[in-house]
């Protein structure tokens, strides 16, 4: 049986490194914990690390699935090909545009929705549910719905917008097609953003808001000086989640334009190389580059918001 280490008053419990010494019991607990999580970690490694390592391995080959005999080791050439190809940078540019615009718009509208859901007094359930409905719809379905809506043959968008000609083809050129895709994306995922922001809003102390009110702060001042600073971690999580999601945009493009009119995202380019053309080598290289970009974006967002993630999880 292990005995717990109990520090007595006045006893120095710190180690030379400044950390409290570890007791037998906590060491044993740590060992037990490791044993308990080991199966999960092994499983995680199998399902996530294996495909990633496999992709890295495949990316060093010029390899088409339909010509297995022509497979050839080419080192980092696939990466050089991708990074020097204008198509890669064009799709990366359009993907960043999708990400920045949709996340910015969703943040503003999502915050508005979160405020409504937080403060609403009457018909609370109905209003909250109504706001969340789009998120419950499968992206492919919402993509089709918006494609029909923007269609100049049977859609309603042209009729509803007085400054648009009724025969205007939204999917005929890059700019309107990108706008249509963004509208669909924003409609679909704003509720998710608002849900995350609602959680953050609920954590802002009412006492602080009341105190600010007593001190004579206006609604606008309360929002900027009290509410938003206290929601920084929640906003960071919301922006991070949505930005990573938006950078991987695929379904709406697949349904609405199939990548035509230069609306293709980096995920779509990767899909086309790997699944449509069976070019496993260059497709894997693009997947690895996509993965690196996602990690980079996550790192940048965490840095930008200067949030200690451990603190955000209330572990500090």
């Amino acid at each position: 049986m292990t005995t717990s280490y109990v520090a007595t008053a006045g006893e120095d419990t710190s180690t030379p490194s400044g950390k409290p010494p570890t007791s037998d019991r906590s060491r044993a607990e740590a060992r037990l914990g490791q044993k308990l999580v080991a199966p999960a970690i092994i499983l995680m490694l199998l399902v996530t690390a294996f495909p990633m390592l496999r992709a890295i391995y495949l990316s060093t080959f010029n390899y088409s699935l339909t010509a297995p005999d022509d497979r050839e080791f080419i080192g980092l050439n696939n990466y050089i090909t991708a990074l020097t190809d204008p198509l890669f940078w064009q799709t990366t540019g359009i993907t960043v545009l999708y990400m920045v615009v949709t996340v910015a718009v969703e943040l503003v509208i999502g915050f508005g929705f979160a405020m409504v859901m937080h403060r609403i007094i009457f018909a609370r359930g109905v209003i909250r549910t109504s706001i969340l409905i789009p998120y419950g719809i499968i992206t492919v379905v919402s993509g089709f719905a918006w494609q029909f809506a923007f269609s100049y043959q049977n859609g309603f968008v042209n009729d509803w917008l007085p400054f648009i000609d009724s025969t205007f083809n939204w999917f005929g050129e890059t700019t309107p097609a990108v706008i249509a895709i963004m509208v669909s994306e924003i409609w679909k995922t704003t509720p998710f953003m608002s849900l995350l922001l609602l959680a953050g809003l609920a954590q802002v102390s009412e006492d602080m808001i009341e105190a600010a009110k007593v001190d004579g702060a206006t609604w606008w001042q309360r929002l900027w000086k009290v509410i938003l600073p206290n929601m920084r971690a929640a906003i960071m999580v919301a922006v991070l989640f949505r930005a990573l999601d938006a950078y991987r945009i695929f379904d709406n493009i697949f349904v609405m334009t199939a990548g035509a009119q230069k609306t293709e995202s980096i995920s779509f380019l990767t899909y086309r190389q790997t699944i449509e053309q069976f070019q496993l080598g260059i497709g894997s290289a693009l997947s690895v580059l996509l993965f690196i970009s996602v990690v980079l974006i996550a790192f940048l967002i965490v840095k930008l918001f200067r949030v200690d993630l451990a603190q955000a999880r209330q572990e500090g």
């Binding site: 339909t66 010509a67 297995p68 022509d70 090909t81 449509e276």
Partner: protein
């Protein structure tokens, strides 16, 4: 007493209900397992992945060709050729044992055979097909890869020139003689007509470009069995000639307003426009597949075409690219392949032979307008009754003398690379497009450019 008895009764009832449900579940599961076991030990089911053309006829054919040894069940593939290829390839790459029979677009055969996804047709069947057999030369060529036969042609598709007789007459064109692209573009432009082609960014556009290049005596690529090292020939006189025709059509009033997104379906509507005075109202010259005849044939259940309109429909051989060289009508159709990972390859091969007989092909042609790949089927009385003799003759000649798309394990790359540089038709320039597309195609094949 009363109050405490109620929960007890409810508890007993719940226990009985649970017991009953458990018994029912056990029985259901047991019987399902027994059924599955007995089915597995009894007649195997062969899955036949079909494309959505003539589904009812093919379903009936699957039933007819089922025997005491196996049942054939049809599974529907998506409608676009690209999606069909992707779905089948995904199954085969995963070594799916339930993919027994496949309806393959001819351009997939070399790719799938090269990947080892198709069972080679046994010697005796192959020699029956190849050595003086009944199968027409064009379709036979599509199933041959590296001197071996990997599939059995089921139906053969080809494109012909469909036109309004009144429009050709107004232009003074003698349609009994071969016509060129230039002639029909001028004829349509001068007589308030249009020219219908497939110029959306998809496989149909490659079909059109390939046919024009072959028609000028050139080709897109040659030595395709060298795989990635195939010779890229599109930067040639033939390539430039094809580009000139695209440019001429784009610059002509004969171009249809939706040219850049036109496909086989959209061009159909331009044959009999409601207002003859409106732009393009005189109808069109249109290159399209064999189904067009059945499409315009008056049928109160399916369309509004009149006998008068139908009698104004004419057909001729695919237009020439250059005046002195016979055209190479595009070839399509369906070949039946047997999956390499099928658990019953012998049964599947037997079934493939059954669904490709001359009788089966006649049935498909009569009911669905899908033309036979066997010469004898063209003489079947049902077919000669359903189609005019000269049209049947035209179909047969076009199939027999048609020009295939490149036979390559990299066909999909080739086709997509061409579309990437030749689309939109508005951007085609005879001086630069063939050269740029050849360079790009080479880079794509060598893995030096993204597609």
């Amino acid at each position: 007493m009363h109050l405490s008895a109620r929960p007890q009764r409810r508890g007993r009832r719940r226990a009985r209900l649970r017991k009953g449900l458990a018994t029912a579940a056990t029985l259901t599961l047991g019987s399902a397992l027994l059924a599955a076991c007995s089915e597995a030990s009894a007649t195997p089911t062969l899955n036949w992945y079909i494309n959505p053309d003539g589904v009812d006829t093919l379903t009936a054919l699957a039933a007819e060709c089922s025997t005491d040894d196996y049942n054939i069940e049809v599974q529907l593939l998506p409608s676009s050729a690209t999606d069909q290829r992707t779905q089948l390839a995904r199954r085969l790459a995963a070594e799916d044992s339930s993919t027994d029979l496949m309806s393959l677009d001819p351009v997939f055969v070399p790719e799938f055979a090269n990947a080892g996804w198709l069972v080679e047709v046994p010697e005796e069947v192959a020699s029956e097909l190849a050595d003086g057999g009944d199968v027409l030369a064009g379709p036979l060529d599509t199933v041959t890869w590296e001197d071996k036969i990997y599939a059995i042609p089921q139906w053969a598709n080809t494109q012909v020139l469909w036109y309004r007789k009144s429009l050709a007459e107004a232009a003074g064109l003698d349609m009994t003689q071969p016509v060129t692209w230039e002639q029909i573009i001028d004829a349509a432009a001068d007589n308030n007509g249009t020219v219908g082609v497939q110029a959306n960014r998809y496989e149909g556009y490659t079909v059109w470009l390939n046919a024009m290049i072959l028609g000028a005596g050139g080709d897109v690529v040659s030595d395709t069995e060298a795989g990635k090292d195939a010779s890229v020939d599109i930067d040639s006189e033939a390539g430039r000639k094809a580009a000139e025709i695209v440019e001429k059509l784009v610059d002509s009033p004969a171009a249809q307003s939706d040219l850049t997104v036109a496909n086989e379906g959209t061009v159909l509507g331009q044959m009999f426009p409601p207002d003859p005075e409106a732009p393009g109202g005189a109808g069109e010259f249109m290159v399209n597949w064999t189904f067009v005849y059945k499409n315009y044939e008056p049928n109160p259940d399916a369309n509004d075409f009149t006998e008068e309109q139908f009698s104004d429909l004419g057909w001729a051989r695919y237009p020439r690219t250059v005046e002195d060289t016979p055209s190479a009508p595009p070839l399509g159709g369906i070949d039946i392949g047997v999956g390499a990972y099928s658990e019953h390859p012998e049964f599947a091969m037997e079934a493939a032979q059954c669904v490709t007989t001359a009788e089966a092909q006649t049935q498909l042609a009569v009911t669905d307008g899908l033309m036979p790949s066997r010469a004898s089927a063209y003489d079947a009385p049902e077919l000669t009754e359903a189609y005019p003799a000269d049209l049947l003759d035209l179909f047969q000649t076009s199939v027999d003398e048609g020009g295939p798309r490149p036979k390559s394990a990299y066909y999909s790359l080739i086709s997509s690379a061409i579309q990437a540089r030749w689309h939109s038709p508005m951007s085609v320039d005879p001086e630069s497009t063939p050269e740029e597309s050849a360079k790009y195609l080479k880079d794509v094949l060598e893995g030096k450019a993204l597609l």
